[in-house]
């Protein structure tokens, strides 16, 4: 592979506290050198002119559903990672709610096999319990050896105290985080959106915020009881002020807890359901404006560790159903950066380097993805080049994903990906 020299760009690498004009040389799939403009000479390198562009670590999404094995009609590892590359991502963590559930080293290795044609790095997340049935733990040691970076029963939250405690203890022993989709499903039977006046008017059953915050509080209580500094709880797609406050409080008490927020939760509120738009149906649901504002505040004050998309592709015929019957989830990989810049930087004046940190080194740190989300010399050559000011219209039909289920179709986003490089290979170019 030919070395790549990226010149004339403005380099932002929050992990190295760099926010300056820099050239960067990628060689042998690694970051080889970073220096002031014009300082790096390399005769054999392919030169990429990054004039007017930001050069940043490839983005890291710690929460995606790639649907393989088992549901290739929604997405494949190839199509999902192509969409990720188009969105500027170079690392994605794939949730285990596949068919069959990724609860074994065999399935993990199958996902990682070259035959899957992944455009970028995939880090599988293993099931926390066998079949995600919430009864018996999977073998965390062998899952980790096969490449798993965390365990979770995403979508099927672990409700039992005993099994959750066991999961936290077993995962702590071998250094894996436990990710919880925090939803007390006993409180959300038949529910399809956020509880409140909008749900009442639409005649839909609503999920109370306590279904999320209650389970987060329970998990944090278990984490405190275990009293093992290695035990790490990560709260997936946090959507309520109450749960965020619980996380803040636990962290002040020294517990090892992290959390992520999805773009749709800090951009939209429950009103987006409109007249039963199934592209605004996901779990956790879009919440009230007060919750949305609390998430923004949590992002701005550093309480939120990462932005993660919860990319959840579904076929058109599945979403074209009655609201209660349509599956939960929306795609997110290609709109995440543009939404984050438009809203966090555009509306809330968050410095670009902090927006990038939420999409690179911070998520990489949450799941311990060594060398990812950074441009430190010697780390894998994962780089994204984007125009931070370019406004563009997102068209779902032009997506690289196999699915089109997004509420952001036709939205004007800010920040357009120009080139994505994964381990030294150009995997997306405008």
């Amino acid at each position: 592979m030919k070395p790549i020299l990226i010149r004339n760009g403005h380099l932002i690498d929050p992990s190295g506290a760099i926010d300056a004009p820099r050239d960067i040389l990628l060689a042998e799939s690694k970051v080889a050198a970073i220096d002031k403009p014009g300082k790096i000479k390399h005769a054999g390198a392919e030169v990429l002119d990054a004039k007017g562009l930001i050069v940043a670590p490839g983005l890291v999404d710690i929460h995606v559903h790639l649907r393989e094995p088992g549901q290739g009609y929604k997405e494949t590892i190839a199509s999902g990672t192509a969409a990720a590359a188009a969105g500027g991502f170079t690392s994605v963590c794939a949730m285990p709610n596949t068919i069959p559930v990724n609860d074994s080293p065999e399935i993990t290795r199958w996902m990682l096999a070259p035959e899957r044609n992944a455009a970028i790095r995939v880090f599988p997340i293993g099931a926390a319990t066998r079949g995600s049935m919430g009864e018996a733990l999977t073998e965390y040691g062998s899952l980790r050896a096969a490449g798993v970076v965390a365990v979770t029963d995403d979508g099927k939250p672990i409700l039992g105290d005993r099994i959750m405690r066991e999961a936290l203890i077993a995962a702590a022993r071998i250094g894996l985080p436990v990710i919880q989709h925090a939803e007390d499903t006993r409180l959300t039977v038949g529910c399809s959106m956020n509880a409140g006046p909008v749900a009442f008017r639409l005649g839909l059953r609503g999920m109370p915020i306590e279904a999320e915050s209650g389970l987060v509080e329970r998990d944090l209580r278990l984490l405190a009881e275990i009293n093992d500094a290695r035990a790490h709880l990560h709260v997936a797609h946090l959507s309520t002020k109450a749960a965020l406050n619980a996380v803040r409080k636990a962290r002040r008490n020294g517990l090892r807890v992290t959390c992520e927020v999805a773009p749709h939760h800090f951009v939209l509120n429950e009103e987006a359901v409109g007249d039963y738009d199934t592209d605004a149906k996901m779990n956790p649901p879009l919440r009230s404006e007060a919750d949305r504002e609390a998430l923004i505040e949590g992002i701005l004050d550093g309480s939120v560790d990462a932005i993660a998309t919860d990319h959840a592709p579904h076929a058109a015929h599945e979403k074209e159903q009655e609201f209660d019957r349509a599956p939960n989830g929306i795609t997110g990989l290609e709109s995440a950066l543009g939404l984050a810049i438009a809203v966090l930087r555009g509306k809330h004046k968050m410095p670009l380097s902090r927006v990038i940190a939420l999409l690179t080194c911070q998520p990489a740190n949450v799941l311990g993805l060594k060398g990812r989300g950074t441009l430190a010399v010697g780390s894998p050559a994962d780089v994204v080049l984007f125009d931070p000011n370019k406004k563009w219209v997102f068209h779902a039909a032009a997506s690289k994903s196999k699915s089109r289920n997004t509420p952001f179709n036709g939205w004007t986003l800010q920040g357009k990906v120009h080139t994505t490089i994964s381990e030294g290979r150009v995997v997306f170019q405008l």
């Binding site: 639409l202 059953r205 939209l268 009230s288 404006e289 159903q321 089109r404």
Partner: protein, 346 residues
Amino acid sequence: MPAKKKAPTAALRQKAAAPQPVKCAIHPASLLSVTHLTLEDVQQILKLADQLEKEPPARRNQRLFKRRVSLLFYESSTRTRTSFEIAAKSLGADTTLVSDKSSSIEKGESLKDTGLTLRALGAECIILRSPYSGAPYLLAETTGLPILNAGDGMHEHPSQALLDLRTILSRLNKTGSITPNTLKGVTLTICGDIFHSRVARSNALLLPRLGARVILCGPAPLLPEDAVRIAPKDATERIEIERDFNRALAQSQIVMMLRIQAERLAGLSLDLEEYKVRYQANPDRIAQYAPKAVIMHPGPMIRGLEITSEVADSPQSAIEEQVYNGVAIRMALIYRALGVSKGARS
């Protein structure tokens, strides 16, 4: 809770230029929700109902002669189905009934495909009853046909609200035009299982716009506090919650009783004996607190639970009038849906 606002980022939204799965525009002669009706629409529907009702059957029969109207019923129904069917037939239309129990719906056919099939078979209008809130929107968007919502889940039952309005107006001897003051000074109590009731929602979304004060009454599990915020933006009177049925009755000229929808309770348990003590419309209570009020019930009634026979069969009761008024209202809605309402007005 704070007032709901649109997320400020909604300004980012633009019209999409790229192709997406095909969605039809909702046909303007559809009736999916009472919120889609202007007061002028309401007035025209009521007027048309009067006119069609008075017309000699032989002439009425020519109005929609051999036009095709489909009834698509995913839930059991006596009143609504029969009344829509009689209404369509009185106008001369051919009706076909498709119900979930005897069609390909049982084999797993989607609402979209069922709608497209009916359209291909010549349906010019579909009357839909569905257990799913919002289903009529899906059918309207996938077929492009005029859709009449005959009750969707817990959401709305717009034709019921219109026939209730017709009943109220006639009982209160209100004639003349429909304005924000038509029901000024009228207080109406809706009592019972508000949470699961599409009838309650449609009435609460319509009547306050005509100046009626609406009191919602029921125990907390069947009447959440959020319910008052259903008040339409152009309401000229407010919606309130009053948990004490006697106090609500004492203020009301109209009392609408609702059935407890056991099929939608979803694990909710309710002490029915206590419910009867607090919320049943029985002769003693009515005589003491609302001796002159008009008693209504959209049906089906569970006699002995929310209402007793003495009350249901009393001269105060307008329950049969409601059913009777349903046919005229539904004739008007079907006539309007088939796009010929201009001819009727002349």
